[in-house]
């Protein structure tokens, strides 16, 4: 048993060393620590939030409208007497799922198209890149609003909308990295050995360019959550009574001068989550950049 365990460790020693080095470098940076701490809290909240929540997020209690933050209602209550703390906890799950699902879709679609454009070049490249130009020519929120309005509101449609609007950035990045890598000798060598285009793209080029894409995805996760909240705020995303953060801010904005906590707490949550993803993304960029090492 110990023999196999040792050999597993031995066989993966380089990967392990790499991970160790990354952890050490992350540990050296304060921003990374703050980011990781906040994200861990956020993920834990999203996973266990519904269990921890003291009240049901949708249950109204009209006798207790607009209660200020107190020991009974940690974040106070809203215009329908719902406990804002419970709603924020439930909302964290919506935001996390949204962020992860959309970013994964973006990552897969954007990267694939970018790699194909970069690798094949010529007409394929021309068509795909003009397409991304079209998307990038509009401010993304305006475009997202148009798409969301066409698709109709709802959580699922919000995800589709954001993915639809944001893929060109990934495609651009993947293409740029691919153009650089495809001139390397080992790509020519792979061609000379008769490897298929698919294999060259996905097993030879993709591993070379994965780090900038991961960094982009991490930073973008916060952006996706922000955009989802933005659409929710505008009434084009989640619909009442979903406890979605953007929607909650929107619902509370009429009372903001007197009952600041209705909009305030979901707003603070969005701020913290987006900030933490950006902090992590920044530190990952530093850590994954080989030139920063040694």
């Amino acid at each position: 048993m110990s023999e196999t365990k040792k050999s597993w460790l031995y066989r993966h020693r380089y990967q392990l060393e790499d991970i160790k080095l990354m952890i050490r470098l992350l540990n050296e940076s304060l921003t990374a620590k703050i980011g990781i701490f906040l994200i861990t809290c956020f993920v834990l909240l999203a996973v266990f939030g519904p269990i921890l929540a003291p009240y049901k997020p949708l249950v109204q209690d009209l006798t207790n409208r607009f209660m200020p933050p107190s020991s009974e209602h940690l974040f106070g209550t809203d215009q329908l007497g719902r406990d804002i703390f419970s709603r924020v906890l439930h909302g964290s799950r919506i935001s996390l799922v949204m962020g992860i699902v959309v970013t994964s879709i973006l990552f897969v679609i954007g990267t694939s198209l970018g790699l194909i454009a970069g690798y094949f070049g010529g007409k394929v490249d021309e068509v795909l890149m003009r397409l991304t130009d079209m998307f990038l020519a509009f401010p993304s929120l305006i475009l997202a609003m148009a798409v969301a309005a066409a698709l109709g509101p709802g959580l699922f449609n919000t995800m589709v909308t954001i993915a639809f609007v944001a893929w060109p950035r990934y495609a651009r990045l993947a293409r740029a990295c691919c153009l650089q890598v495809k001139e390397e000798t080992y790509i020519e060598a792979a061609k000379a050995l008769g490897l298929s285009h698919g294999r060259i793209i996905f097993t030879q080029i993709l591993p070379m360019i994965i780090s900038p894409l991961i960094v982009q995805a991490t930073i973008n996760l916060g952006g996706v959550i922000l955009q989802a909240a933005g659409l929710g705020f505008l009434g084009l995303g989640a619909q009442p009574p979903d406890p979605e953060w953007g929607l909650m801010i929107s619902e509370g904005r009429r009372f903001i001068s007197d009952q600041w906590w209705v909009s305030g707490f979901p707003g603070i949550m969005i701020l913290l989550v987006v900030l933490s993803f950006n902090l992590i993304g920044d530190s990952l960029r530093d850590v994954m950049d080989v030139r920063m090492r040694r």
């Binding site: 080992y186 020519e188 000379a192 050995l193 008769g194 294999r199 097993t203 591993p207």
Partner: protein, 322 residues
């Protein structure tokens, strides 16, 4: 001895901002079964372009303009890209000058070898892994099991070249194009690689080799026939003995005189001048500005290829006259 590869009048251009670089200007030669043909010449004479043109790995801004590359009688230049891809690695393979950068730095040896075997022999993952061990042993690598887990930067140049050779001979290709495979290795490793290539021919892992080098010593050691290239053209083609013992072309003669010999002291001979700029190649014979035996006809007329013996060809006006 059948003809394996017949290159006829191959012309390749590169379209650059400076103008059209006529890198190959009608290259013709033949490789028979069980033959090692050396392609020697200076830097910029078009050796590598010839190799890439045969493999059809010329990327934009380069373009193969005309000519034929008959491989077992089939013109590779007329093949569809998809058919050509199936020729690469299976029928014609290639090894490179710097083996360390010809291997993907982020993938371990195992993944790369196994992937090549899967592609070219159609094996499943398990069979491919077994075959990869055999292959690596065949090219003389020790401790193959642990080698699979190692990354290119951990290998010495010689080991990396062996790994790459293993990958390129996986499907027992008919022709191996070796593009200066020993130029980045030190001399002892160099001779080991040459011995390995000979050995692989003997055990039928490869049929013939097109060996590109600028080192006449290496060419003399390995090759049966030698093509001397200059300015995108073959100046002289013949058996090793013919080229080394009775060179006919003034350029080949110059090259032979420029090789240091044991017991020779004093200043080494150099061919005056430099390699022509192939955007504006000299008219007539490309070598005439540097030729010690230049005649008036050389300035204006391109020499034809003259057959001196059954295996010996040269492109020089001196020979045409005889």
């Amino acid at each position: 001895m059948g003809k394996l590869l017949e290159v006829k009048g191959l012309k390749t251009n590169f379209y650059t901002y400076r103008g059209v670089v006529k890198a190959l200007n009608g290259v013709s030669f033949t490789i028979h079964d069980k033959e090692v043909v050396g392609l020697v010449g200076e830097t910029g004479s078009g050796k590598s372009v010839t190799a890439k043109s045969i493999m059809r790995l010329i990327d934009s801004p380069g373009k193969i303009m005309e000519g034929e590359v008959l491989f077992n009688g089939v013109d590779l230049l007329k093949m569809k890209e998809d058919e050509m891809r199936h020729m690469r690695g299976k029928e014609i393979s290639m090894i490179f000058q710097d083996p360390v950068i010809a291997l993907n730095p982020v993938l371990n040896v195992g993944i790369q070898v196994i992937e090549t075997i899967e592609t070219n022999l159609g094996y499943g993952r398990k069979e491919a892994k077994k075959e990869s061990l055999d292959l690596l042993k065949k090219v003389g690598l020790p401790d193959v099991e642990s080698l699979l887990k190692r990354y290119p930067h951990e290998l010495s140049g010689g080991m990396a070249q062996r790994v790459f050779i293993a990958m390129s001979i996986a499907a027992r290709p008919q022709l191996l194009i070796a593009d200066e495979p020993t130029s980045s290795l030190d001399v002892t490793i160099q001779s080991q690689i040459l011995v390995l290539l000979r050995h692989l021919m003997e055990i039928d892992s490869i049929n013939s080799i097109l060996f590109i080098t600028h080192d006449l010593g290496v060419a003399a050691e390995l090759c049966d026939k030698i093509a001397v290239m200059y300015g995108g053209k073959i100046m002289e083609f013949g058996t090793k003995e013919e080229i080394f013992e009775e060179p006919l072309h003034p350029y080949t003669r110059g090259l032979m005189r420029a090789v240091p010999k044991p017991g020779f002291y004093g200043e080494l001979f150099t061919i005056p001048g430099e390699v022509p700029d192939l955007v504006t190649p000299p008219p007539g014979c490309v070598f005439h500005p540097r030729c010690p035996q230049r005649m008036d006809v050389c300035d204006t007329e391109e020499p034809k290829t003259t057959k001196v013996s059954e295996s010996h060809f040269t492109s020089c006006h001196l020979m045409e006259d005889e």
